[in-house]
Amino acid sequence: MSTQNDGLVDRIGNVGRQAIGNGWTTERFALLGLLALVVVSVGPQFQVYLFTEFLIIALFAVAFNLLYGYTGLLSFGHAMFFGAGAYGLAIVLRDYQSAIAEIVGTGLAPLATFVVGGIAGVALALLIAIPVGYLSVRLEEIYFALITLAFGMLFYSLLLQDPYGLTNGSDGIFVALGGVELGGTEFRLAGRRIYYYITATVVTISIYGIWRIVNSPFGTICKALRESPDRAAALGINVSVHRWMTFIVSALFVSIAGVLIAGFSSVATPNEAHWSMSATPVVATVIGGASYFGGPIVGAFLYHYVRWGISRFPALEAYWELFFGIMLIVVVLYFKQGAAGGLAMVGAWLRNVQAAYDRGGANAATAFVRESIGEKLGSMMSRSTTGRSDDGGTDR
């Protein structure tokens, strides 16, 4: 027992040293991320609300990128699983809250219903992902994108047409998370700060789970499939089964984000499953950088906050898509690795400036800055005439 404890303490100590020691390690990024989560929780109510939505989009995009950036399959139908999560929660909440209350008592019922509804949302996504994934992974590239788009629209129209009287058509289902009474304390699940704590916890655990998966043998095989499926097959890997599994895992994490969005916006509507919702993680991932684990998070942040920033100017709000268009064009033309890649480039450049300063003081540093900027501008000019350059894909 004691050795096990020592092992755990050692491991925690090790992570701690990595986090506060020299260098920008993964542990340091994780620590800063957690600190940011805590800092936000004491911010103004509206900022907490805005940040909660960003976290949900970030999980959506990271889960999507397991299939896109890591496995090389661009799905245009992931809103299907986002919607499945949302409707799973909404239906359980509407139809089974009183049944659950009878079992666990009225005090705990809202929390229990939320958990059961969440599980139902994930289960519904699983039920859809198994056959849809099985049929879709047989195709690649544009055909894969198109078939997932088609399945997504099929699901959307089922929600909208509501043939079985389950989904309440275009109005959707109202999602009312009640108040929990527990040993004298009382809190509303939908309260902005409470819901932020729930979201932050679930998103952190989910993203950590995806991080473990991409760094596991399973994730290593995913990257191999992205690079060369026929070579992977020649090494004994069943390409379609592995893609299928990845599709399902990705869908499950997306559905968790879907459950969270229903609780967040207090309603589940067909919009959650519309193809334009499928575009959200695509845009966030491309802006952020698909080859970085954190790329979709950076992208979701930009996507969400730029949109909010634009919405503060009523004159511009109608044109917010125009701004995204411009942003996308700039990223696709000049930052193939997205914003995360751009940040990494700036980081490397700053380290080079520092190195130049260490070597020859301020003059050397200024000279280096002048030279490197000149070079960059020169290469940009030539790039715009010769097509885009490849600054090298990496997994980080």
């Binding site: 043998p217 399973f218 990257k223 020649a234």
Partner: protein, 255 residues
Amino acid sequence: MTTVLRTEELRKQFGDLVATDDVSLEFDDQHVTSIIGPNGAGKTTFYNLLTGVLQPTSGEIWLRKDGDMTEITDAEPHEVARSGLSRSYQITNIFEGLTVRENLQVARIAHEGRTFDMRSRPDADEELNEEIDDLMELTNLTEIAETKCDTLSHGEKRNVEIALALAIEPSVFLLDEPTAGMNPTETEEIVSLIRELNRDIDATFIVTEHDMGVVTDISDRIVVLAEGAVLADGEPEAVLSDERVTEAYLGSETV
């Protein structure tokens, strides 16, 4: 001497074109066999049939697996690989965006049947990485272990190509033009590597090669394909002095 791979009247037609014409061959566990032939002779089609990439029009393929001959005619590529038949590619086909070590991790994970393991971490797996270190030692990759493959030289990539195929511990090892695009020094290195491997590991080697120097250097047996059919089959000296072979290679021109 045991037969490890056998084809029976293996035939592949694309429309009217017969790419593989009733090829019946046996390969035993002791000799290095070279399959040669002019461009378009059907070498690559033959490899693609053996590895399950293409389905034959007719005929059968049998592979020794766990001591018994097993039919693999209809097996898919991953099933063929799992049965112990591994290949390298003429046009380098490696995981370019990954490091050399990650490339070999892929192969070892596949070989150990751990492709669905979502819990462990390959980078922290000492046993896995020790095996990979040994393999890299053997194939001269140790120094570039942590380098991403898309930055390697052509010769280094060719080594990764062979190391990948080797990592799944095949019983039959198909090398498709291992010296393709290599300079004389690199060719020399690959030839000595193949010799070394043939001595050290318990696998049957089948090689296609256009460099006649390499062919005579490494093979115990030569099979000549022409227009999809077996033209000659036997010991190197006998096959290379065969008039029909010279003719097939040089057409109407004379030496």
